[in-house]
Every structure is written in structure tokens, then in C-alpha cells.
């Protein structure tokens, strides 16, 4: 598999356009597709690269597929892009100082709801 890919790449122009062509291995393609849904197209900023028609998005899809085919893990590819474009490029933001509120707000709201419910039940009694 990786040998045939290496041969394809060596042939240069004979390599398929992975921006718009699926990988031959369905498992690798599924992996690539899952990652593409979580990466932001940096040109058309509201879309994932899976949804976007921009040339740049096709180039990013090609990058994802080629690296998956080479055996790289989706997380390594995501990390490579975050190193260059920042957390912005990923739709699955890591927990950090800036995103802590994003992750903890649901828990805080749930706790607040429980507290309000408790006090209002107590009043009724």
C-alpha cells in the first residue's frame, strides 16, 4: 500500500488529485474524512475543508489524505496544522486558558440549574 503510494508520488503528475479523489483504502478514507470535517478552511472561514469548494480547501484535503495514506495519525496532522495556523484551524479546540470557559460553562449552568431547582422546591414545602 505505502509502496504503491510512494511509486505514485514518484511519478509526480500521475498521482491522483487527492483533494477530490477518495483514498483506495476505505478505512483510511473514513479516517481522513472524519478529520476533514473538523478542520477549518482558512480561506472561507465558516466552513470545514470537507464542505468547502475553495482551491485551498482541496489542497488541505489532499494534504490530509496523503498524510493518512502515509500512515500518519489524524491527531499528528491536526497538530501540524495547529502549529501553523493556531487552534483556530481546528473545530475541536483543546482545553486551554482561553477555551476553559467554553468547556466548563455547560457544567456550571447545570450546577446553577440544580441549585435554583433545589431552592424553589424547598420554598414550596
Amino acid at each position: 500500500m505505502s509502496l504503491s503510494l510512494a511509486l505514485l508520488l514518484a511519478a509526480g503528475t500521475a498521482a491522483p488529485d487527492y483533494g477530490n479523489t477518495q483514498l483506495p483504502d476505505p478505512r483510511a478514507e473514513a479516517q481522513a474524512r472524519a478529520l476533514m470535517g473538523e478542520l477549518r478552511c482558512v480561506v472561507c472561514q465558516g466552513q470545514s475543508i470537507a464542505d468547502s469548494d475553495a482551491d485551498m480547501a482541496a489542497d488541505m484535503r489532499a494534504l490530509v489524505r496523503q498524510r493518512i495514506a502515509r500512515g500518519e495519525s489524524p491527531e499528528a496532522i491536526r497538530h501540524w496544522l495547529i502549529e501553523r495556523y493556531g487552534d483556530y484551524v481546528s473545530y475541536d479546540p483543546p482545553l486551554s486558558g482561553a477555551t476553559a470557559l467554553l468547556w466548563t460553562t455547560p457544567i456550571l449552568l447545570l450546577a446553577l440549574g440544580a441549585w435554583i431547582a433545589r431552592s424553589s422546591f424547598r420554598k414550596r414545602r
Partner: protein, 175 residues
Amino acid sequence: MKRALIWLPLGLFGVLFVVIAAGLMRPADTGVHSTLVDKPLPAFELAPMVPGKPGLASSNFGTGKPRLLNVFASWCIPCVAEAPQLMALKARGVPIDAIAIHDKGPAVAAFLRRNGDPYSAIGDDSRSRVQMSLGSSGVPETFLIDGRGRIVRQYIGDIRADQVDQIVRDMAATR
């Protein structure tokens, strides 16, 4: 306690008002900034784009003098608008190299004939590989690379006439 609470909604409204008004005053920055600024230029090697002009490799940079790396394309309209500023920078002794995105040799040659040629080398980045490795998200963008091969600055969008002096100063402040 209860009395004071009556002012809470108005207070919250005031806070929200200030936040939204401040957001409206400030022009939105929709540029995607490369996080490679202050980091070494990634290694790359690109074939020549037009006959008679060398291709571009990362080894062209970091040779003791700062250089500009312009990301452009012959199909890009803002790149036409930027061309006079690049020519002005070249005339003031600023060395400029380029990578051309999604482009063809004859198209780039025609672009250079029409708009002038400020470049010492142009690399062919037909699939945006090097552009992505730089954390660049569109054309045109220009990177200032210092004499040690580090990315010092990223100028997003076309360079305007009023930016030329600043860029010359940035170059002078960079080693």
C-alpha cells in the same frame, strides 16, 4: 439586599451595551495569522516557475541579510494592486523572492510583463504545499525573513502604498 438587586438587570444591560458597542467600533480582524512568526522558516524546495528565473528553496534565506518572501498568483487581483509597491520596495534595495500558488509558467510570465518583476526567484507551489507549511492562508501575503532564517513578520493582504516606508524600516530593524 433585595433593593440593590433591582438594579442588577440595568447593570447587566449596561455591561452588554459597552461590550457590543466596543465590538462595533473596532474593525474586525478576519486575517488568519501564521503562528510561525518568530519561528524558523520551514524547510522547502520548489521548482522554477518561469524560464530564466531560479526556483526557490528555504536555503535562499538566512544567509545573513533579511529578505521578503511574497506569496502571490497571476490570477489574484489584489496581487496586481500590490505590484507597484513591490517594485518600489525593489527600487529601494529590498530583496524579494516569491512563491506562486496554483499557477502556470506562461500565466506568471505574462503577469510579470504586465505588472513588473520585483522577484529574484520564483518557486512553483502548484498545490499550496509550501504555503500551508508557512501558515499562510491566501494571496497575497508577504513574510519578512531575517538573516538567520527566522520569520519575523507576516503582512496579510496586498501591501499598500502607505506600508512601503514601514516595511523598509522593518527591514532595517531586522538582522
